[in-house]
Symmetry: C2
């Protein structure tokens, strides 16, 4: 490229930049930490686009779908119209309607953000007193001399005892830390930082070095990781990635079958996952200019199968009744034992499992959502291929697991796909009009879990579906075919560059019925065990990527949840990841996690005498209600 | 090979076997466990040859050299002549003179056996109460059911608490053991053996399985290993091998220099050694039909450098004043951390080091020889390239290390070689007659440490050498050359198929003076520190391969030891190996080893103001005495 050409190009660019409007206002989007500078009168939706915040907007900004809800924190925007008040609840605004009049800060609820961005953001953050299991101290040692020939390890141990107050920990050395000690002491003038876990010196570093911790939630499909400064408690970075084991099977049973094929296969699954965790940690560290070798503690949570697979424990017994885990209680081991390349003596802490299908991730979610200490009758769910449900009442916690299947991941759906660009993620049927939104506004190529849930809910609402899930021919111009082949044309080929027709068919509806029925039956069984009626539930906490992303109204419309006021629902994001972070930052939280696991009364559904009846009843789609926002109160 | 040819060959063989004599007597050689069947009237020396016992016989069975001494345990042999009584002490017989008259058992002292066999046999065996650190128990668990869904680990832990008496250990699981647990439980009908070390379950096995332990002495040149049944305390097998690190340098300083070249080099040294240990353990196990995977505990001893190298600890600081070890106290870690392929959770215990040049091997030797609890004034030595010396007096133990150099390994000697077949290992000069013995009676190809020590002692005895080590021309027909080139022709080329002349020259004598002078100066310095005179020493315990093999008379003749009666000397074989075995079998012995290491008062010779004077004085060769067997009493 010639200098002249460069001048021309940069000149153009500068010209473009200097052409900005001068009367700029700032819009801050929380908790994403993104900012836009826009002209007075710009809509919040437009500002969000500029800031790179993927707000939902099913109706394309027409003010009708209500999916771009945000909450104004500070600043002034144009007041809501009557029509907008009909669409959103008190305290919320439609981003497509509100226009900025001053610098503003808005809070974006997780349900208003498109899926890919959602996976990156936080679940709820409970305040916690910083008290990590690993502690660090700077010490200065007297160098050896001909009259003081103590070994390095003895010298350090005795120096710790001479601290004020005397530090009696540090009796043992991690072997990796010990191997680093002699060189580190001499390179740093006998002034170093030591990191202690329980009674063991697990790491040594130059004096003053800040320590890193990593919290990881290993899902069957996705892995979420959070990098934390253990000295300050500050979260430095977060990232999500696919579980690389996905190549060996989509669900837990497929992974178990693969691992059972032989020791080499089991090791392959373990190493693949560990490799993914190493990469993820490396990426997080690189993002903030740090190194994985500075990570001194890791908290891992996952369902019982992921927990066993990452540890290299046999999983055969998890796949056979009575589905007994190898390991229930919390567990500590060296990161290097798993093949993780963190600090040589880095510790890995795993929260306890409850049962073969209620794992450490659910314990973490209960910890993060405070279900163990609530005084309200609360249901907590972590929706996934396997859905774990807990019911907290009068100090008891009853938990069960139900096989909700992979339909919410887009699997077993005719035009289903994962939540990826081009997936239809929101659907609204208004009369004969079909409105939908795709992830990243890309051309529609398939339907993801929340899209199919919306679709079924909307089809029931406008009377296309009967209570048993049958699609009524002639009920809508988009309904095609007959009998088993009946289908609803959601997206005709060519529309918004769709490469082919996207259809919701009779079988898709059945898949959703099976999935939501399993969840609802689980809730109902726990209520029965506790002697409660559904209306007594005061709070429903919905966690997990899909759980956070689903439209609660749609979930209520299909009967996934008992008919309760929408205000009773809270969508908390990655509760398991939040719980893992708490356990990283607080020894008290680890103890509480242990108490939770011991307190939980596990209810085995598969052998429960009432389960089949409950499940059968839960398969039905409820009668539609007139109010889209509010499920009928009992 | 045709069938006919096979028939012929095996026919020949059978014919040979059936031609044995009928009037046979049995001769058992202890502690080697070898047996010969011989005709009445056969000499014990001949019987030893048949049994494959390499007895010394410098004079070739003439009854003059006294090197084939054995002790009769049971049975009858011909009575000793007057001449024999002059040569051997009370209670001993010359094997070349005694002829068997009945079935007999004889005890062969280590000093009477040739070097290669010696390396394999035991040091002294102190009786010890069997109380290994690892304990094992058989437990039977209730299998899981739909009403008992406890995790395997919880089930086991609770079963241990229900034992009578309750077993409160086993709170933690080794990760390797935990990974084996689920499969082992189900394959063995929930009836298994668990192995506990401290509070940790380190191994699981089918019920009733016997556990193996391994004691290893890692020398700079040689490695000795002992396989032990931890349930019975029985030693199953023992073997010695070269330290494979020898390829990277002959002495400690050379290894340190190699390891300092970089992390890759240090790792290479570590892995090479560990590979050697793995092979040695595998060979020992195979010999008794067992498998390395059954080894659950290992005790390692070695000098401080070998200790650090096997652990992968940095050694740079060991090579620089003030020679401070990284690790002094005893240490436990997983065998797998070192790369050893034993049971997944196998433990490695390392005895404590005393200083940079007085290592865990010396602690083990002190433990095995009981120097820490003797009421006699005792000197204990472990002679090698580096010689560690301790002096026990009135409950004190003073220790030092001296650089005796590799001359006793045959290095730096004009015709020197290691103790291998063909090495001249014993020398006697009787008037102008030169008698010598080679290892395995092979053609003489060089002179090993004990041979050169004998040679110098004998040359001094017959007046060829002066006190300063000068060789007097014309003093013997075999003395050749002049000045610095003066040499004594020990073996002329062609004699007994010798491929070349073997000569002891002036420089060789100096090397021996330097080596023995260092040892003697060390002993003298410890005596000075303790305020003792040499004649107060009541006992001298000499350990190590060379220490056991040397002729005490020769060592006294060159002044390596203070002039003391020969009865005060005990040669104990591999004291370090014996100590390692004791620590494997007894927790009390481990504690004692720790106490020994703490109690030892280390005396640094290199900076001691009197050392140079003591060393200079110790270089002289003492006046010869008339009695070959007895050094002059003060």
């Amino acid at each position: 490229m010639t200098d002249k050409l460069v001048d021309e190009l940069t000149g153009d660019l500068t010209g473009g930049l200097t052409g900005e409007p001068t009367d700029e206002l700032t819009v801050d989007f929380e908790p994403l930490g993104r900012r836009a500078r826009v002209a007075r009168g710009t809509t919040l939706l437009e500002a969000a686009r500029q800031a790179g915040v993927g707000l939902n907007a099913v109706c394309g900004g027409a003010g009708t779908c209500g999916t771009c809800r945000v909450r104004l924190v500070t600043g002034a925007v144009t007041p809501p119209s009557e029509a907008e008040r009909d669409v959103v609840a008190e305290g919320f605004r439609l981003a497509c309607r509100a226009r900025v009049l001053s610098d503003v800060r808005v809070d974006v609820p997780p349900a208003s953000i498109t899926a890919p961005q959602r996976a990156q953001i936080e679940g709820l953050e409970r305040p916690v007193e910083l008290d990590p299991a690993v502690r660090s101290f700077d010490v200065t040692l007297a160098p050896p001399s001909l009259t003081d020939l103590r070994a390095d390890a003895t010298r350090l141990r005795e120096a710790l005892r001479e601290q004020s107050p005397p530090l009696n920990g540090g009796g043992r050395f991690d072997h990796g830390a010990l191997c680093q000690l002699p060189i580190l002491l001499r390179e740093n003038g006998w002034h170093i930082r030591i990191v202690i876990l329980n009674d063991e010196i697990i790491a040594v570093a130059p004096a003053g070095a800040a320590l890193l911790g990593l919290a990881v939630d290993i899902g069957t499909t996705k892995v979420a990781a959070y990098l934390v400064n253990l000295e300050s408690g500050e979260m430095l970075a977060a990232a999500g990635t696919m579980n690389p084991q996905i190549a060996y099977g989509e669900d837990v049973m497929a992974r178990i079958a693969y691992a059972m094929a032989g020791q080499a296969q089991a090791r392959e699954l373990q190493r693949t996952l560990v490799g993914g965790l190493d990469d993820l940690a490396g990426e997080l560290c690189a993002r903030v200019g740090r190194d994985s070798a500075e990570i001194v503690e890791v908290v891992l949570v996952g369902n019982t199968c992921m927990h066993h697979l990452v540890l290299g424990l046999p999983v055969k017994q998890l796949g056979l009744a009575p589905y007994v885990p190898a390991l229930g209680c919390s567990y500590d081991l060296k990161a290097r034992e798993l093949g993780l390349r963190f600090a040589p003596g880095a510790n890995v802490h795993l929260l306890p499992n409850i049962a073969g299908f209620v794992g450490a991730d659910h314990v973490a979610m209960l910890l993060a959502t405070g279900l163990h200490e609530t005084h309200e009758i609360t249901v907590g769910l972590d929706i996934g291929t396997n859905t774990e449900i807990s019911l907290a009442v009068d100090g008891r916690i009853l938990s069960c697991s139900c096989a909700s299947g992979p339909a919410f991941e887009g699997a077993h759906i005719h035009d289903g796909m994962r939540a990826a660009p081009g997936a239809v993620e929101r659907v609204r049927l208004i009369g004969e009009r079909v409105e939908y939104q795709t992830i990243d506004d890309a051309p529609p190529v398939g339907i993801c879990g929340s899209g199919i849930l919306d679709g079924v809910a909307e089809l029931r609402k406008i009377g296309v579906l009967r209570g048993n899930g049958a699609m009524q021919p002639g009920s809508h111009p988009r309904v095609r075919g007959r009998g088993k082949d009946t289908g609803f044309l959601l997206v005709p080929a060519g529309e918004r560059e769709a490469p082919r027709d996207l259809v919701i068919n009779r079988k898709d509806v059945n898949e959703i019925q099976l999935a939501k029925g399993a969840i609802r039956a689980g809730i109902d069984m726990l209520l029965e065990e506790a002697g409660l009626e559904a209306e007594q539930i005061e709070r429903v906490v919905v966690a997990g990527a899909f759980g956070t992303y689903l439209d609660v109204g749609s979930a209520l419309a299909v009967g996934m949840f008992p008919p309760l006021s929408r205000e009773r629902f809270v969508q908390v994001g990655n509760g398991a990841g939040s719980g893992a972070k708490l356990a990283l930052l607080s020894r008290r939280c680890r103890r509480v996690a242990g108490e939770i696991a011991r307190r939980v009364e596990y209810v085995e559904l598969t052998t429960h005498p009432h389960f089949v009846a409950a499940y059968t009843a839960a398969l039905m789609l409820p009668e539609p209600t007139g109010n889209d926002e509010e499920a009928p109160r009992p």
